[in-house]
């Protein structure tokens, strides 16, 4: 039985069937550029002096430096705005709109599409049963002109999900647990395909986090099948899918799985410095004193993440020795959280709420971590120096674990707050 990834790549390259290892030239539906790697792609296009044939399929996001913290970042923004005008790219999301990966899943990416982004966390869109992967700047430029790109069809890595995710655990805990098994290159080049009866207990929010961080194991892409949860997600966005045409994205029958994950056994996990694969159950690091806590990023700055954080923080206070910085992933997330009273709860608990963007995850602004500081963060990566000082220690965890830790001033088990 063919993997979901192979099925999408076969259709995109006009073939009836493709095999893992085969190189195909596939049509690309959408291309994502950000203010971090976009300028190099823009350089290439301007030097070539070519027009874009499909400018409406290019999406430019000013999200890594949002709003700009420096003159050089401001100049990059000026350059990208000028480029969008000159090349008639209608979809430029300016500072304050939010993170590319969040906005792309708020109604832009559709199931079955091939999407490339000049950013490694592009894998996130696989939660919507799309093929999405990170590329370099040259490839982004090439795809912007030709609307196609070469891909080696990845070998699938089938993960069977069984059981039901407990209410105190989240998608972050699932992916950190999987990464601790796979290691930092255990999924290199592979397509992580999440299947099995456990899917029913994974909401779209959890799936997005899992697909996003699959790249931390080296995965080329991650993908979930088209099921009722995906269909319901699009319905909520007011988008009706052509289910007959998309029938090939339904869960394939797989005889042999590479791994089985029993979701009912997942407990709160924490990734120790300096790799997301360096994950352990929270009990092993409980009590580690923290200076700063972040609820942010494409992986975990979603509305649902703010809901769980507010639930824990309601009527409680952030420890006086800790800064809790909350950066919603998009303006849409921020507005909804504001309307539903979540922002007020967070502020009253002592959190700092920033404008949407990549924020501290990228180490550029909105709470850069200093020398010898210890952080607990719901963000994507904890590489040395990623969030600021190379001397800092960054622990990754779910928004629930981050919120509980912010209250206690040290790494804490969120189960005490989620009964």
């Amino acid at each position: 039985m063919q993997s979901l990834t192979a099925r999408i790549l076969a259709r995109a390259s006009g073939k009836s069937k493709v095999e893992p290892g085969e190189v195909v030239i596939a049509n690309v539906d959408k291309i994502v550029l950000t203010d971090a790697t976009g300028p190099m792609a823009v350089d290439i296009l301007e030097k070539l002096g070519v027009r874009l044939t499909h400018p409406a399929d290019v999406y430019i996001f000013l999200d890594h430096y949002s709003p700009s913290p420096s003159i050089s970042a401001s100049n990059i923004h000026i350059r990208l705005r000028k480029f969008a005008k000159a090349y008639r790219v209608p979809n430029l999301f300016d500072v304050g709109e939010g993170i590319s990966h969040q906005i792309m899943v708020e109604g832009i990416v559709r199931p079955g599409e091939v999407v490339v982004g000049a950013d490694s966390h592009t894998t996130q869109y696989g939660a919507l049963a799309a093929f999405a992967t990170g590329v370099g700047s040259s490839e982004a430029a090439y795809a912007m002109v030709m609307k196609k790109l070469w891909f080696k069809v990845p070998e699938p890595l089938f993960i069977k999900l069984t059981g039901s995710l407990p209410p105190y655990a989240s998608g972050k805990d699932v992916i950190l647990s999987i990464l601790s098994t796979l290691g930092p290159d255990g999924a290199n080049y592979r397509a992580l395909e999440f299947l099995g009866p456990g899917l029913k207990s994974l909401s779209m929010s959890e799936r997005l986090t899992i697909a996003n961080m699959s790249v931390e194991g080296g995965a080329k892409n991650a993908i979930f099948p088209l099921d009722d949860i995906v269909i319901g997600y699009f319905e909520e966005l007011g988008i009706s899918l052509d289910l007959e045409r998309l029938g090939y994205l339904k869960e394939p029958a797989i005889d042999k799985f590479d791994y089985t994950v029993d979701l009912s056994t997942i407990e709160p996990m924490v990734a120790k410095p300096h790799n997301p694969a360096n994950s352990v159950p929270v009990s092993e690091v409980e009590g580690v004193k923290i200076d700063v806590a972040f609820i942010a990023s494409c992986a975990n700055g979603k509305y649902e993440d703010l809901v769980v954080a507010s639930r824990i923080l309601k009527g409680r206070k952030v420890s006086k020795d800790v800064r809790l910085i909350v950066t919603p992933a998009s303006k849409r997330v921020l507005v909804k959280a504001l309307q539903d009273g979540l922002i007020q709860i967070l502020l009253e608990a002592g959190a700092i709420v920033t404008p949407p963007g990549c924020g501290a995850c990228f180490g550029a602004n909105l709470g850069v971590v200093g020398d010898y500081e210890v952080a607990i963060s719901s963000t994507t990566r904890n590489f040395t120096g990623r969030m600021g000082s190379p001397k800092a220690q960054v622990y990754l965890a779910s928004p629930a674990t981050v919120a509980a830790s912010a209250i206690e001033g040290c790494i804490a088990d969120p189960r005490r707050y989620l009964r």
Binding site: I25, L48, G134, Y142, P184, D185, G218, T384
Partner: protein, 166 residues
Amino acid sequence: MDLKLIEGEVKVLGDNIDTDVILPGRYLIYTDPEELGKHALEGLDPDLPTQLKGKIIVAGRNFGCGSSREHAVLALIGAGVKAIVAESFARIFYRNSINRGLLVIEAPGIKDKVKDGDKIVIDLERSCISLPSGECFHFRPIGEEVIQIIEMGGLIEKLKRELGLM
């Protein structure tokens, strides 16, 4: 680039050489390969940038892991690296290398076969690396499409041809 036979002196590196070690973030302000080359692998050893001219890097697992920055590839090209042979590559780095015309070869087991300063020859037609011992170390053939991109000098050179710009 003529890819029939590539000859060079070996520089051996370890596992998980990440893009921050290859080119620290503070140099992302440059895009010129020569300028970037002055800092190639400086995160590993400050003397390395000047020792890479004409070298073939032989590395361990997961070479180039981390960010999608293409600057890392440009730095190695700028420093004069002829090719990289590794046990395995991180995928975005692998693609960026090909797209910038830098030959990258996956050859599991190669690391134990060579040491610093060895002269090796990469033969793409036979998919083999000639070792100083005279032994031929085989690797999985690289696809025609990929060789074509490298021969043209990278993805953008290919694009120029496809668009009739040269």
